[in-house]
Each structure stands twice: as C-alpha cells, then as structure tokens.
C-alpha cells in the first residue's frame, strides 16, 4: 500500500531561484484569474464539489493498470479535471492537489511549487480542455478520440515544460533532458490517454448530464480552443526541435542572455547584484535595501515578542 506519485514533481533545490520566481508569478496570475472567474460563475455548491473533486483526483492517481514487465499506467488527471469541471475549476482543483502533495508528502518542493503548478496543473488543464472544447458538436467517438490525444498532449506539455525549466536552471543538459523527459512521458501519456478516455466514456454512459450543454464542463468559453490549441501546437513543434537540434535552442537562449539570468541560482544577492537589474550601482542599492528590511523585520518581531510577553 504505497503511494506512487506521477514522476514529474520537481523537488526544492532543482530549479534556480529566478526560474522558480518566474514560474510562481505566471502560476499566481493564472490561478488569480481562475479564482475570480470561479467566484463569479460558481454557486455556493461548488466549494464542497471542488474539494471532493480534488480528493478524487488525488485518489484516482492511485488507480493503475498493468502494462508489461512490471510497469503500469497511471493518471495525472489535469485533463480529466478540466474536462469534467470546466477549465477554471479544474485548474483550482489541480492547484489544491499539487499543493497538498507538496505540503503533506513533500512530493514537489515549496519554493519550486510555482513550476509544478504550471507544469502539472495549469498547462495540462488548458491543453486538455482546449482540445476537448473543440469537439463541442461532434459525435461521441470523435470526442473520445480527441480526448485521448488531448490527454496525451497534456502530459507531453507538462514534460516539456519541466525539461525546459530544468535546462534553464542549469541543472540538466538540454541534449539529454528534453529527449529523456519526452521519451518517458510519451509512454506515461499513453496510460493517461487510455484512462482518461475510458473514464469520460464511463461518465458519458452513466451520467451524460454532467457533460451535456449547460453543465459546468460546457461553460468554458470558446477561447479555450485557441489557448489549448496554441499550447498544443507549440509543444508539437518545439518537442522535435528541442530533441533534434538542442544546440540551436541553446544558442538562441544564450544569445538572448536568458540562460545567464535564469541560472543565477547562486542567489540574487550574490556579490550584491540582483538579476534583471543591469546597472551595478542600482543592484547595490536594492541589495542593501533588502538587507535593511531583514534587519527591520527581526527588530519588529523581537519587539512584538516582548510586548506579547508583558501582556501575558
């Protein structure tokens, strides 16, 4: 009775601070949007629904099926969550799942959680839902076919993002990490696709109302088709490119100065230079200010402690 996580959770320490923060900003923005959208559209009933659905995704990740040679297929769930709950609620549910995995089981780190959210929760939901939404008026078999492709691509999207983040953090070689991640996840994605398709088929057979017109699932706007389609397209184009000509991609990132900024893992305060700030003197000022803030915070806390004690 062991808990086996999907193999994509990045632990703390494996991404540079810059990349971690960038991913956090991106994820926070998307999640913020998701929160405002769900707050607007969902009734009070949705709170227990999303909570139990998060537990469902968590539990469903334990369902496996034997493939061959002791390996087995698993579910990540991003695409499934978005398809059955709609994209925004699906993203929130995945956010809760990934956050809990990090908090409770240390599956994935805390500072790098922004990246994990992006890779496994947000991107997978966007791709999964976008492609699914494009089949609104299609027959059931077309729908299921597209869902299979969408689920597979959602896993590939997560894998590619993970690989790129690791590369940009200077933790792994582009030549190795992209083909390795994509190769492994091409197989994992097959399991994802098979389980997602038959789970949706099951729902279509037993409770078609949950996916029909007017359901939460159908409420996602048509714009998702473009969002999901674009991400999927980017993955389809970028994956072979990154695998076949990693040096090219490396050079471009190098020329843009992106890698240097991203890899400054050794810390924004290293030698009093803060990345993103070109001028050395500006950097010194900012670094000094951060130092002053820390000292101020310590003084404040000690002061509060003394006050609390005198009250107690």
């Amino acid at each position: 009775m062991h808990y086996s996580p999907p193999p994509m959770h990045i632990p703390d320490g494996f991404l540079s601070l810059t990349i971690s923060i960038l991913c956090w900003i991106l994820s926070a923005a998307v999640i913020g949007l998701a929160i405002s959208k769900t707050n607007k559209s969902l009734g009070e009933k949705q709170i227990p629904l999303m909570g139990v659905m998060a537990a469902f995704i968590f539990a469903a990740q334990m369902i496996n099926f034997p493939v061959a040679g002791g390996t087995s297929g698993h579910l990540l769930g991003g695409a499934l969550a978005a398809i059955v709950l709609g994209p925004w609620a699906g993203m929130l549910v995945m956010t809760a799942v990934i956050a809990t995995q990090a908090l409770l089981f240390q599956d994935g780190g805390l500072v790098v959680m922004g990246a994990n959210l992006l890779n496994m929760g947000l991107a997978t939901a966007a791709v999964g839902y976008g492609l699914y939404r494009s089949t609104a008026r299609q027959s059931k078999s077309v729908k299921l076919g597209v869902i299979g492709v969408a689920a597979w691509l959602s896993v590939m999207t997560g894998a590619l993002l993970t690989a790129l983040e690791l590369w940009l953090s200077g933790v792994s070689d582009l030549k190795v990490v992209v083909p390795a991640m994509l190769g492994v996840h091409a197989l994992i994605g097959l399991g994802e696709a098979l389980i997602t398709v038959s789970a949706v088929a099951f729902i279509l057979q037993t409770r078609p109302d949950l996916l029909a017109e007017g359901s939460e699932s159908a409420k996602g706007s048509g714009a998702w088709v473009y969002v999901g389609g674009l991400i999927a397209l980017a993955v389809v184009v970028l994956s072979p490119l990154a695998s076949a000509d990693p040096d090219g991609l490396n050079r471009v990132a190098m020329d843009l100065g992106f890698i240097d900024t991203a890899q400054s893992a050794s810390g924004p305060l290293a030698g009093y230079t803060v990345p993103f700030l070109a001028s050395a003197s500006a950097s010194k000022i900012v670094a000094g200010a951060i130092g002053a803030l820390v000292v101020g915070a310590v003084a404040f806390l000690i002061g509060r402690g003394i006050k609390a004690k005198s009250q107690a």
Binding site: M1, N64, P66, A68, G70, S72, F202, Q205, T206, R207
Partner: protein, 251 residues
Amino acid sequence: MPVSHARSEIKLEMNGEEVLKVNELRFAYPDGHAALHGVSFNLRRGEKAALVGPNGAGKSTLMLHLNGILQGGGEVEVGGQRLTRQNLPAIRALVGLVFQNPDDQLFSPTVFEDVAFGPLHMGLPEADVRARVEAALEAVQMSAYRERLSHHLSVGEKKRIAIATTLSMNPSLLVLDEPSAGLDPRARRTLINLLRELPITMLVSTHDMALVQELFPRTIVMDEGQIVADGTTAEILNDEALLTAHGLEKP
C-alpha cells in the same frame, strides 16, 4: 496487483471433503496493528457457516486472506492446494469474494460487463463468457438486468449482481462480507432465500444475528483476531455469557 499471467500450468481440482483449511493464520497491517493472531478452522464441502464478532474483530481481514488479497503467516488451503504466490490466480477462480458494499464490487458501467469481468480475465472464449454470465444472472434472478447501468440499481439489486459477478467464475467457495447490511426487510428476505438455495460452500460474516439463526447450521465467533467459539448455531446462541463477552446479542 493483477498482472497478465502467462499460460497457467497449474490446474486445480477439488479433491477431498475439506474445501477450506485455515491453519494458524496471523496477520499485522503495515501500520503494525495485529489483526489476526493465529486463526484456524476448516470448512467441508457444502457447509454454510456464519462468522460473527464485534467491529474490528478481524472478520474482513480473515476473508481477504482466503483468496490471497492479503497474505500473512500461517497456511490457507483451498481444495487441497496450499495458497502460494504461484497458484494465486488459480485460487482466485475457486474462491468468490463478495464485499460488504456492493458499490465496491461493481466497477463497470453495465451489469453485463461487471459479471463478465471474471470470466474474461480468466481468458475464456467469448461464447463461454456469455454462457457463464447468463447462468450467473439466472441464478440470482436478474437476467432482465443484463444491459442496465449498475450505478442506477437499488441496493438489493446491486447486492444480487455483486453475487453474480463471483458466481460467473464458478467458485467452489463463496465468501460474503456482511451481505445483509443496508437492505430493507424485503430485499433481505430475497437475499436469504437466494443464499439458502445456492448449492455452494459458504462463509458469511454478519452482524445480523437473526440471519445467522435462520440460515446457518454452524457459527464461528471471532474477537480480537482470534476464534473464540466454533460450533452449532443453536449452542452458540444459547450461550449468553459468550455472547455478552463478545459484544453480541441474541436475535
């Protein structure tokens, strides 16, 4: 985990009178909780026995050992064959396990698919599978429900389908965990009649002492991972001291 088994070499035949032999079975859950402390008993062909005891006595744990879902210390012999890792798949064909909650047993969308799962997994040809499904549904009087969605059935109906899912595997021993829980009196009555008429060796755990009295000639009492009494139902139900000591009540 279910894995794809190569062509099975092991052919099990039921020989001898003893369908089930359990010897000194011990088991502790991974968290360290010892649930079985040396349980031994036998079951003869055609015998129907009740397994009673308070919550947490270890009844369900014991039942999960009978077809190797859990494997502890001690021995389990089914049809004269000792249960080992190798013959696990073959033993599972002999022991039909029906869980307490039929919802846990029925995982396919339609009744047909659920009853067909066992035979299909055994690798039977399609015609055989269909024949077995028909026979099993017939036995529980649910032939008309073949194409229904399991999800929408009543508890009593689900219960009968759950039994059919194991009958379709032609088991030599039927093990039922609390079959009457949650049924209304009518559904419970139907179930009692069904169990009475099935000509299979049976071990049934229950809290329903009236059911025990009505249906089972033999009763095994468990408490705290041990068998504390094993005898004719009449004897056991008349032993007031025994019943109160183990949180049971006379019907």
